[in-house]
């Protein structure tokens, strides 16, 4: 991976974080391609097959995977259109979960860039800490990882896929009214 590509991707993700924290959601939406899939699965507590805490009865059906599947419930499963609807909702003056708005800070780290399946796409891994403070003393820490697919459209990097894996089982926040 060329050094300038790495730098470009890093700057792209930092700029995205700044747009989110400045609540500049319309410019943030421009960073996504029209065929976007934006997915935040849930996490289960499951014993691995090797666990001695249970004796498995039916090994053929035993499910070890703890991240929810694509046909299961997710915290968010969005297209560009539904993200636009979510942003439009914030502008109604009646989106009570964000009125008054959250103060957020997205810390983006551990950025890795590699070529994706086709040569004109990049697969980008990153970690995030998203601090949310709201009202007088509401505080949430959302910590997790992201996997993005980026491609160039008319000279600009655009995100066509984002998988957000939050490191929580029971969501400890009362709601998810921000973006990652």
């Amino acid at each position: 991976m060329k050094d300038e590509t790495l730098r470009e991707v890093e700057q792209f993700l930092y700029r995205e974080a700044r747009l989110l924290d400045n609540r500049n959601f319309s410019q943030w939406l421009e960073l996504f391609s029209d065929d976007l899939r934006y997915w935040m699965p849930t996490r289960s507590n499951r014993y691995p097959v090797s666990s001695k805490a249970i004796s498995i009865l039916d090994a053929s059906r035993y499910e070890e995977e703890e991240i929810s599947g694509e046909d299961e419930l997710a915290f968010m499963e969005e297209t560009k259109q539904t993200l636009e609807m979510r942003v439009a909702r914030l502008d109604t003056g009646m989106a009570w979960a964000e009125d008054p708005p959250s103060r957020t800070r997205h810390i983006i780290t551990n950025i890795e860039v590699e070529l994706a399946d086709s040569s004109d796409q990049l697969r980008v891994y990153s970690n995030f800490v998203m601090y949310r403070n709201r009202g007088e003393r509401d505080e949430d820490f959302y910590v997790g990882s992201r996997e993005d697919v980026l491609r160039r459209e008319a000279g600009h990097l655009r995100i066509s896929y984002r998988k957000i894996v939050l490191d929580q089982n029971v969501l400890l926040a009362k709601n998810v009214s921000n973006f990652f």
Binding site: S44, R46, K52, A88
Partner: protein, 425 residues
């Protein structure tokens, strides 16, 4: 503690004390008198379809392990090792013939029996009656249309009697077609800093908040308003025992603003009418609560959820989605996606509810605030028993009548020492 319950709930005057939403002493009484006595929802049968399948949940604040034993029978037990009280199973779900406590290694079968105890011969001198030290089982367990319920009270009425007329209303959500419903994989679990009764009464009786609290989701296309009609119909329906249903008009039977779902609803209308009978031509049950804390809806999302209490000012929600088992795969998929975008922690509708329930709870910490009763007077005197609905029904579609019946049942349970006294009311 002897509570002056009558000063807390005055359903006839439509006044409810704020103390019941915040005070620890009242909450502890609720755990005993409501959660340790009522039938509580555990899971849907389709979540544990095969022998050995298990799921963990709560009954009140008690951790509970629900499992299908090797013979295929469903049982529910305290998820607690009887030896030192360690929580036995730490997984959300799975499949097992046995569970082994992580502390000392006591092993329990999927029927709750104590199967093995390390050092039984040398340390216990073979002098431990293992038949007395199995997992503590619920007093009664029963299912209704795939919904698994249990109670810790052997004297509680049967599930059939407990649900009463509510059974038909449950059918209108969970048994509209042959085969009933199945649960979509995965679950939404999250913490809300609010009292458990606020979401229970919201789903059971608050048609009022929809037009204002959720207007932003309506105008941005996440749900739709019932078609404007001269007589929109619908109402708040109380079939007894504190259970509540909110209904929209009979013609508004397909709420999700998605073409494939609306077409599906049209296509099965004749079948559901035939199955559920003429009552469905009077109104469409849309949201509801089985007392005390199982709520469900079938509008922009088909979801059932339990508001598990975690103290007077905190709950953990366990929420699932359901679909008609007989629905085509593309309809199930449309319902899954539409549903999770509307309801759940990020739901365009639900995220605003959480914020309001939190503030409705937190303000009650104020000693002076707590002196002033809450207003549940909307529609007082404007409901009647409707023979065709088999329930008390409000004259107008928006009313506080359901919460008044909900809190009346709450008060009966808090006062009564026996189920006979609860029924006598």
């Amino acid at each position: 503690m002897v509570l002056d319950v009558k000063s807390l709930v005055d359903a006839e005057a439509g006044l409810i004390s704020r103390r019941i939403f915040i005070e620890e002493e009242i909450y502890q009484e609720e755990l005993e008198r409501i959660f340790a006595r009522c039938w509580l929802f555990l899971c849907h049968e389709s979540q544990i379809p095969q022998p050995g399948d298990f799921i963990t949940t709560y009954m009140g604040e008690d951790s509970v392990l629900v499992m299908r034993d090797t013979a295929g029978k469903i049982g529910a037990f305290l998820n607690v090792c009887p030896h030192r009280g360690n929580r036995l199973c730490r997984a959300d779900n799975g499949n097992a013939s046995a569970f082994i406590c992580a502390y000392h290694g006591w092993a329990f079968g999927n029927n709750g029996d104590l199967q093995a105890v390390p050092n039984l011969q040398d340390a216990y001198y073979d002098d431990l009656d293992q038949s007395k030290w199995g997992l503590v089982q619920v007093a009664q367990l029963d299912t209704y249309k795939g919904l698994v319920f249990a109670t810790f009270d052997k004297d509680a009425p049967s599930l059939t009697d407990y649900l009463g007329e509510m059974a038909w209303y449950l059918d209108s959500f969970f048994d509209r077609r042959e085969g009933g419903v199945e649960v979509v994989g995965g679950v939404h679990r999250w913490i809300i800093p609010c009292n458990w009764k606020l979401p229970a009464e919201n789903f059971g009786g608050d048609a009022y908040h929809v037009a204002w609290n959720h207007l932003s989701a309506l105008t941005s296309g996440f749900t739709r308003a019932p078609a404007a009609r001269q007589t929109p119909g619908g109402g708040t329906i109380s079939p007894g025992n504190g259970h509540c249903i909110l209904a929209v008009g009979a013609e508004d039977y397909s709420a999700a603003p998605v073409e494939i779902i609306q077409e599906y609803e049209e296509s099965i209308r004749a079948e559901t009418l035939d199955r559920l009978g003429p009552r469905l031509e009077k109104m469409t049950p849309n949201v509801g609560t089985v007392f005390p804390h199982l709520s469900f809806l079938r509008g922009s999302s088909r979801s059932f959820r339990v508001w598990h209490p975690k103290g007077p000012d905190k709950i953990e929600v366990i929420s699932c989605q359901f679909v008609d088992k007989a629905a085509p795969p593309e309809v199930k998929e449309a319902l899954r996606i539409t549903g999770l975008r509307a309801f759940g922690p990020s739901g365009a509708l639900e995220q605003d509810d959480m914020d309001n329930w939190e503030e409705c709870t937190r303000t009650n910490r104020g000693a002076v605030t707590r002196r002033y009763a809450l207003n549940y007077q909307m529609g007082l005197g404007h409901d009647r028993f409707d023979e065709e609905l088999g329930a008390w029904s409000s004259d107008f579609r928006i009313s506080d009548s359901n919460p008044r019946y909900f809190y009346q049942q709450w008060a009966r349970l808090m006062l009564a020492d026996t189920w006979a006294q609860v029924s006598a009311g």
